[in-house]
Symmetry: C4
Subunit: 363 residues, 4 copies
C-alpha cells in the first residue's frame, strides 16, 4: 500500500469525495484560524525522549474509562457517516471492533445504534442537547439498550459555527441519509444564502439553553459514565471535575465551532493541571500521527480521539480503509512510544517531556 | 448573497473602486509594517471559550457612553465618504441608524452634520485640531446643533503619516467633494512628487501644537462627552483618565500614521490595566470579524470601531452595502459570543480569556 | 572550486546520487519535523562575539577524549559507505586521517575495521545492540584489535524510525555491499510495502531490550572509553554521567528516529547543565557550517559530529571530496572562532554567548 | 521623484550597478543569516508612541560627540567609493556637508582625506589595524591634518568574513581605484577560488593581533576622540567604557563579518544598559527608514549610521543621489519623531517605548 501516513490517506480521500462533501469534512468555522492552529500547535510541540529503557515488550495498550483498548485512540463522533460510504457507521464501527478501539457514535448517525453495536465495537453514544427533551430520553434508552457504554455530551454546539464552505457549496443531506436514531420526523431543513442546511437544522432543533444544571438531568436518566466533550477553559474543567463527570474531552470540535478558539494542544496542559487525577482527560482536534498521540499524552491527555482521519479511511475504502487508518496510527504510536524509550503509555506519561510550543503562554 | 465574511466584501469592493481610491483606503504609512501588524496580532490572539452556560437569550447589545447599541461596534470616522458612493456619509449613517450602532462623523465629512444626523443615526463628531481656532468653535457649534452626542478628538495626526501610495498615484479630491462642515474656503491643496494633496492639506491646516492643555479649551467649549482617539501608550492613557475624558480609543489610525507603531491589539491590555474602570476604552485598527470583536472585548475593550470594512460596504452598494457589513459583523459577533459560552458582552468581559500573541511582551 | 560552503556540496552531491540513495541519505522519520527542526533551531541561535582579543594565533585545535584533533568536529558513524563511493569507508577515513579528525566507523560499515584504521585515521567504533550477543563480543574484539580508540553505543535505535522515503523507493542494499564486520551470514532482509529492507533488518537483528544495565556488560568486555550516542533528556544524561560514561552524544540521529523529537541544539544546554564537567558532551544533527560548530560549542558542546555533509563529499569525489568538506568546515570554523574574537575553542566556551532561539523553552 | 523610500533607492541602484559590484555591496558573510537578521529584528520592534505633546517645533537635531548634526544619522565608513561613482567619497561627503551630517571616511577611501574634508563635511576617519604600524601613524597624521574630528577604530575585522558572493564573482578592484591614503605601494592582491581579492588583501595587511592594549597605543598617538566600531557583547562594551573610549558603535558590519552574529538591534539594549551614560552608543546594520532610526534611539542608541543606503544614492546619481537619500531619511525621521509625539530626539529617548522583538531574549 502507498498509504504510509495519514497525509497519504487524506490526499487519496480528497480525490475520492465530491467537492462539497470534501469541503464539509475538511472545513472549519469562519476564517479557519483555529483549524490551522490545531495543526501548528501540535507541530511545534517537541518531545524529549528517553533511552536505555528495555522496550522489547513495548505496548500501546491502555484503558479508557475501564475498557481495555489497543491504543489511547478513539474514533470521534461524526454525523452521517453514510455520506462517506454506503456502509457508513457500520463499516467504521466494524473497523474499530477489529482494531480494538472505542467507537463514539454520533447522535446524528445515519445507522442505528443497534446496527453499530452489532459490529462488536465497544461503543459510546454522543448526544447534542435537543429542544425536544423526549428525544433525549428516547436516545438514552436506545443507546443503553443497544449496549453503548458511555454517554458523550457535546457542549460546544449551542449553535453551529459559521462554516462558510457549506453555505457556499449549498451542501445538504441527500435523500436516504438521515439521523435514524431520532424518533419521528425530525424534518429536513433548507439552507439559505447565509445559512447552510446544517446550520438551520441545528438552530431549530438544538437547545442553546444547555447549562451546568442539565448535567443533573442527564445523570438522573442514565447510569452510564458521562463524558463532557468540548471543554477548553480550566475553570470549566474544574467545575466538571467537581461535579463528578467521568471524563472530559478537550476539544474545539476540529476547528468547526468558535473561530479564534485556542488549539486543543495548547489548552490541554492547563486543563490537566486543574483536573489532576479526578477524571480522565481526553483530547481531540488535529491529531494526525502517532507522534501527535505521544505528544498529547505527554501534555496530559489520557487518550485522544481522531475525527477526519477516520472519515478519510471510510470514504476511501469502507471498513478496510478505516482499518488501514487505525492500523497505521497504532503502528506509528507504537513506534513513537518505543522510540521515546517507553514500554507503554504509562511510561510516556511519567517520563517523557513535551515542550510546549514557544508561542504558547502561561496562565 | 455571496458576501459571507468581511474578506468577501473587501474582495468585491476592491474591484468596484478605481485603483487610486482603492489604494487611498487600503494603504498605510511607510512600509506598512503597522498595517500588517494590526492583522497578525489579532490573528494570534487565542480565545479560551466557556461552556454549559445557557445562551438561549444571547445578545450582543451593550452601551457606549450611555447610549444603547445593538453591538459593541461603532463605525470609525472616515473622511470624504462621497468618494466611495454618491450618497456618502448619509448612506453610511443611515445604515448605522438601521443597524442600531453609533456613527462617528469625520470632521472631513463630505456631507453636513445635519444631513448625517437626519438619518436618525446616533452620531458622534470627530475633530482634528485646526490652526484656525475659529473653525473649531464653529465645528463644535454645528455638531452640537445637529445633535451629535460626543466629540472625538483625534490626537495621532499632528501631521499626516507618509502614505506612499497616495503620493505615487497622485490621489486628490475630485471636484465637488469637499469638507462641507468647515466654514469658508478651506482651500484645495496640490500634492507634489514627495507629498500627496492630503499631506499638504494637513500640513497647512492642522495644528501640530495640540497638547494636553488644549483638552481644557475643548472642555470649556462643549458639554458633550469627550473621546480621545489615537492613544497607545499607557502613560498617556493614565493621564487622560486622570483628566476625566469620557473614553479613549486605542488606535494607530489603521496603520496610516506612525509606521512601526505597535498594533492596537497588543497595546490594548496595558491601556486597560492602567485605566481600570475610570473611562471606557474603545479600540480600532484591524477588526475584521466577530471573533476579532470578541477578542478585543476579552483583551479589555469596551467596544470597537471598524473603519475600512464600512467603507467597502458603502463603496459596493451604498446604504445597503454598509447595512450588509454591519449585519454580517453583528451576526458573527453574536455567534462568537454564544460559541464562547456567553450570554452577552458582559459575560465575555468577565469569563473569557484571550491569550495574547506569544510574540507579545510584558511591560 | 565552486564548492564554497556545505550547501554547495549538498547541491552537487544531490545530482551525483541516484534518487533512492539520495532519499535514503537526506530523509528523516515520519513527516520529517525533527529533520527540519535541527536546521531551524541552529539558524535561530545568535552568537554574541567578542572583540579586541589578539587572534593572530587563532586555532581550532582541541582534544576529544584525550586525542588531539585539528577541530572540534568528528565524522559521525554512517552505515554502508560503499553506497556512496566504491572506496567507501576507506576513502572517508583516509580523508579524516589527512584532516586530523576522528572517524567514527559504523557497526554497519561496508569495509573492515582493519581497512579503516589502516588509513591512519584515529577511529572510534560505533555499535548497535544486537540480539546475538556473540556478535557483540566479536565486534568488540575486532574493533579493539584493529586499533579503534573508543566504543560508541547508539541508544536511540531500539527499532528503526519510520523513514517513509525508503519504503516508497523500495531502497535496499545492492549485491556486494554488506556489513562486513559482522561474523557469519547476517542475512539479507526484504522490505515490504509497509517496511523498508533496513527496517526489517533492524527489527530482526537489533535488540530492543537494551537498557542501563547493559552498559555494565559492555564495560566488562572492553577497556575502551564508552560513548553513549542519542541522548536528549537531561535525566538520562545525568544517569549516564553518574555511571561514568566517557562522553555523551546529544543527537536525534539526524531526524531519522523519533519524528517530533526536540532538535539537538535545543536539547544541548540542559544536558550540559546537568552533566557539568563530568564527561564530554558531543552533539550532532544539523551541523552545516563553521558558525554552527561555534554555536554548538557556545551552547555547551565539547565537539560536534557531521553526518550527511561527509557523505556528500564522499559521494561527490571519494577521498578528495570528503577532504574538501573537512577542509571547508575547518576553515569556516577557524574564521568563525577568529571573528568571534577567540583564540581557540576554549575561548569560545568561556566568553562567547549563544542566545538560544526564542522559540525555545526553560526546563 | 519616484524615490519615496530607501527601498525605492535600492531598487533603482540595483539596476544601475554591474552585477559583481551590486553583490559586493549587498552581500554578507556565509549564508547571510546575520544580514537578514538585521532587518527582521528591526521590523519586529514595535514603537509605543506618545500623544498630546506640542510637536509644532519638532526637530531631528542632535549632537554627536559634541558636533551638532541635523539628525541622529551618520554615514558609515565604506571602502573605495569611487567604485560607485567617479566622484566617489567627495560626492558622498559633499552630500553630508549639505545635509549637515557627519561623514565617516573609510581608511580604504579612494579619495584623499584632504579632498574629503575640503567638501566641508564634518569628517571622522575610520581605521583598520594594519600590520605596518608606520602606516597607522601616517594615517593618523593625515587624518588629523586634513581636519578629521574623530578616529573610528573598527575592531570586528581581525580577518575578513567569508563573503561568498565576491569569491564567486571574482570581484576585484579595477585599475585606477586604490586606497590612496595609505603610503607607498600597498600592493594589489589576487583572489583565488577560495578567497576573494579583498580577503587576500585583508589577510596580508590587517593585523589580527589587535587587542585592548592597542587602544593605549592609539590614545598616545592622537588627541582626537576615539570611537570603537563593531562591539556587540556587553562585557566588551563595559570594558571599553571603563577605558574611556568616547563612543561605541554596536555593529555587525552590516552582516559582512561573523555569519550567525546577533543583529545590532537585539544587541543594543544590553550594551546601553551596561554603558549607561559613560559614552555615546552609536549603532548600525540594517537601518532603512526614519522609523528604524526612532526604533534604534528608543532601544538606546545615541545616533545611528547608514551604510548601503548611502552607497545606493551615490551609485544612482553621485552627490545628488546621496543628498536625496539623506533628505529622505531626515524627512522620515522627522515624521516619525513627530508622529511618536516627540519634539526631538531627547523626547524619543525619555518617553517612547520600543518593545523588543518577542523572539529576543533576556541576558
Ligand atoms: C464531518 C464531521 C462531523 C462531525 N460530527 C460530530 C458530531 O456529530 N458530534 C460531535 O460531537 N462532534 C462531531 N464532529 C467533531 C469531532 O467529533 C471531533 O471533535 C473533531 O473532528 C476532531 O478533530 P479532527 O477532525 O481534527 O481529528 C464532527 C467532525 C467532522 C469532521
Ligand atoms: C479612508 C479612511 C479615512 C479615514 N479618515 C479619518 C478621519 O477623518 N478621522 C479620523 O480620526 N480617522 C480617520 N481614519 C482612521 C479610522 O478612523 C480608523 O482609526 C481606522 O480606519 C481603523 O482601522 P481599520 O480601517 O483597520 O478598521 C480614516 C481611515 C480610513 C481608512
Ligand atoms: C546515511 C546515514 C547513515 C547513518 N548510519 C548510522 C549508523 O550506522 N550508526 C549510527 O549511530 N548513526 C547513523 N547515522 C546517524 C549519524 O551518525 C548522525 O547521528 C546524523 O547523521 C547526524 O545528523 P546530520 O546528518 O544532520 O549531521 C546515519 C546517518 C545517515 C545520514
Ligand atoms: C560596501 C561596503 C564597504 C564597507 N567598508 C567598510 C570599511 O571600510 N570600514 C568599516 O569599518 N566598515 C565598512 N563597512 C561596514 C559599514 O561601515 C557599516 O558597518 C555597515 O554597512 C552597516 O550596515 P548597513 O549597510 O546595513 O547600513 C562597509 C560596508 C559596505 C556595505
Amino acid at each position: 500500500s502507498s498509504l504510509l501516513c495519514l497525509d497519504d490517506v487524506e490526499d487519496a480521500a480528497t480525490h475520492a469525495m465530491a467537492a462539497d462533501l470534501r469541503d464539509f469534512v475538511a472545513g472549519g468555522a469562519g476564517t479557519e484560524t483555529t483549524l490551522r492552529a490545531n495543526r501548528t500547535a501540535l507541530e511545534r510541540v517537541r518531545l524529549v525522549p528517553r533511552v536505555l529503557n528495555d522496550v522489547s515488550a513495548c505496548s500501546t495498550e491502555t484503558t479508557v474509562l475501564g475498557t481495555s483498548t489497543t491504543m489511547p485512540v478513539l474514533v470521534a463522533p461524526m454525523a452521517y457517516q453514510r455520506l462517506a460510504h454506503p456502509e457508513g457507521e457500520r463499516a467504521l464501527a466494524a473497523a474499530c471492533a477489529g482494531a480494538g478501539v472505542i467507537y463514539v457514535a454520533s447522535m446524528l448517525s445515519s445507522s442505528t445504534f443497534v446496527d453499530i453495536t452489532a459490529t462488536g465495537a465497544s461503543t459510546w453514544c454522543q448526544l447534542y442537547w435537543l429542544r425536544d427533551r423526549g428525544q433525549m430520553t428516547n436516545l438514552l434508552r436506545r443507546a443503553e439498550s443497544a449496549g453503548c457504554r458511555a454517554v458523550v455530551l457535546t457542549v460546544d454546539v449551542p449553535r453551529m459555527g459559521r462554516r462558510l464552505r457549506d453555505i457556499r457549496s449549498g451542501f445538504t443531506l441527500p435523500a436516504g441519509i438521515s439521523a435514524v436514531n431520532l424518533s419521528g420526523d425530525v424534518g429536513v431543513h433548507d439552507g439559505s444564502d447565509s445559512e447552510s442546511a446544517f446550520m438551520a437544522h441545528t438552530r431549530l432543533t438544538f437547545d442553546p439553553s444547555l447549562s451546568w444544571s442539565d448535567l443533573d438531568w442527564l445523570r438522573q436518566r442514565t447510569s452510564l459514565p458521562i463524558v463532557v466533550k468540548g471543554v477548553l477553559h480550566p475553570d470549566d474543567a474544574q467545575r466538571a471535575a467537581e461535579l463528578g463527570v467521568d471524563a472530559l474531552i478537550v476539544s474545539n470540535h476540529g476547528g468547526r465551532q468558535l473561530d479564534g478558539a485556542v488549539s486543543s494542544a495548547e489548552a490541554l496542559p492547563a486543563v490537566r493541571e486543574v483536573v489532576g487525577d479526578r477524571c480522565e482527560v481526553l483530547m481531540d482536534s488535529g491529531i494526525r500521527s502517532g507522534s501527535d498521540v505521544v505528544k498529547a499524552i505527554a501534555l496530559g491527555a489520557s487518550s485522544v480521539l481522531i475525527g477526519r482521519p477516520a472519515w478519510w479511511g471510510l470514504a476511501l475504502a469502507g471498513q478496510a480503509g478505516a482499518a488501514r487508518v487505525l492500523e497505521l496510527i497504532r503502528q506509528e504510536t507504537e513506534d513513537a512510544v518505543a522510540l521515546a524509550g517507553c514500554r507503554g503509555i504509562a511510561d510516556v506519561r511519567s517520563s517523557v517531556r513535551a515542550l510546549p510550543a514557544a508561542e504558547s503562554w502561561s496562565w
